[in-house]
């Protein structure tokens, strides 16, 4: 009896600990949210503001400082546009190429596979400067395409899909072929629906990664009307220093959409992560 009771107490303690840690982990987000809603004279002066309001957001969406106006809302749109395009393409190309490598047999498959591995392990930092030069030589400097084009294909996504498709019994594909289905039909009507757990995890990780990209977007785009929100925010640390409230509001606009998106898909997430580790 007393052993049982002790166990119960330990369990309550464990939940208490877990909840405290959870609050600690998300406290920076809560702080950001509260400060973005706080009256300006209280921002960064008190933890819990005396009143909450949307004035920081209104100021931000009105263009910000009149001496240094910035298109904050548009920057959010830029982030969404670039991230969505890049991620959708990465997922689609990942599935197509992954299928070709895992299911089809053609000469050149082996070298392509090896090359993908080589590219995955090649240190990307070496390519930063020449990739920028290439973008400039193509006349794409300061355009949306500069942020989008180099990111349309992810070797990691290809790798993940190829791994998954290899685990699907060959009979599935053979049977569909006998029924006269074309390869594209097999991909879109059989394989991609089967790969939903992979798609969820690949999409989420690639989306999150692209949403907060800084270095590349900062290098290839200078025009504030094309900058992503992350870049715009990074460049405003100095000049907007006296307006922390609106900067927190911009931080919320940058952070909370992706948290919400993640939470919507999170049901499959924890089990999905093991897919990444096992490969």
């Amino acid at each position: 009896m007393s052993k049982n009771l002790r166990k119960k107490f330990a369990l309550v303690g464990l939940y208490l600990l877990a909840t405290c840690l959870l609050l600690l982990m998300i406290s920076p987000y809560l702080y950001m949210l509260l400060q973005s809603l706080a009256p300006w004279r209280e921002v960064d002066r008190v933890f819990i503001p005396s009143s909450l309001g949307l004035h920081s957001y209104r100021w931000l969406l009105g263009g910000g400082l009149s001496t240094l106006p910035r298109p904050w809302l548009r920057a959010w749109g830029n982030t969404a546009l670039v991230t969505t395009t890049v991620t959708l393409s990465r997922v689609l190309v990942g599935a197509l190429v992954g299928y070709a490598l895992a299911v089809l047999s053609f000469r050149g498959k082996r070298p392509i596979q090896n090359f993908i591995l080589f590219q995955m392990f090649y240190p990307g930092i070496i390519l930063l400067v020449p990739a920028f030069l290439l973008i400039r030589a193509m006349g794409l400097y300061d355009t949306y395409l500069a942020m989008i084009l180099p990111g349309l294909v992810s070797t990691w996504a290809i790798f993940m899909y190829a791994n998954f498709f290899r685990s699907i019994p060959r009979e599935v594909v053979e049977a569909a072929r006998i029924d006269g289905a074309s390869e594209l039909r097999i991909i879109f009507q059989i394989m991609i629906p089967l790969a939903r757990p992979v798609t969820a995890i690949v999409f989420l990780f690639l989306f999150m990664e692209r949403w907060i990209e800084l270095l590349w977007d900062m290098i290839v785009v200078r025009d504030p009307s094309k900058q992503t929100l992350n870049v715009l925010l990074a460049t405003m640390f100095g000049p907007y220093g006296g307006y922390p409230g609106p900067l927190y509001a911009a931080g919320v606009l940058l952070t909370f959409p992706i948290i919400i998106l993640f939470l919507l898909f999170s049901r499959r997430f924890v089990s999905g992560v093991s897919l990444i580790i096992s490969s």
Binding site: L22, P28, S105, I125, I126, L127, V129, M208, L233, I277
Partner: protein, 292 residues
Amino acid sequence: MKWQKELGGWLLASPYLLSAVLFFLIPLGWSISLVFFDWNLISPVRTYIGLDNFREALSSTRVYNAFLNTYKFMAIIVPGVLVSSLSLALIVHHLPRLKQFYAVGFFLPYLASGVAIGLVVRGLLAYDSPFNEFLRQVFGSSPRWLRDPVWAVLVIGFMIIWKFSGYYALIFLAGLQGIPRELYEAASLDGAGPFTQFRKITLPLLYPAFYTVLVLAVGLCFGIFTEPYVLTGGGPRFATHTWQLEIYYQAFERFRAGYGAAVAVFNALATFISILIIRRIVEAWGARRGFR
């Protein structure tokens, strides 16, 4: 029929091939020639200077600081993130219900942009922030945080530990869930207490997860950019300067394309060699203990 099959394969693979040629092979070739030139990105004149870029990088105190700081960050981040992610995983693993809820919650920091969290950290550590007021009331003084070379490294290291703990915890969690329950039951029948069980069963069987997290965390330290870029600019006195900051500064602020590319080569080499050495050490340690 035969050629159709061939064509189909190549067609499906073509988006990858196109992007690999354009955004991997061409820059790769370009990087090889770039490092031998002195070029300011604009002028039509490029001067061939042989290995001078590498020589300059080797004797540069900026590069030396970036090199050294990486290991400073590593000394904080790697143990910190290992302990915190393993702790989070153990807690989640022992919860009978709501595992998913807590695991997802602990993962949320991973979604944070270093820029947005930089704002929070800057606000929290500002001289007259409520946090510092509190410290001054209790201890009589507050650290200079980002303007102190030691604290600045700790703060940025802590930000990175915070961000990755929940992610790595999922790797440990998968490892924990792969350990058969019978092992614990058998050990418990043999009279092993929870602590012994943890040391003799959990830790050895978590070795693969431990290895994965360790290699990921070490690699991470070579790519630090956002946090010091927004918070310290690499200061004070280069205490938080990193490889990527140096490459960005040289290539895109001073427009020294060749020199920046040469520093990037050293960055890649340092990363590669360090990871190789650390892997060897951990593998040897694991083999001696009979882990796999």
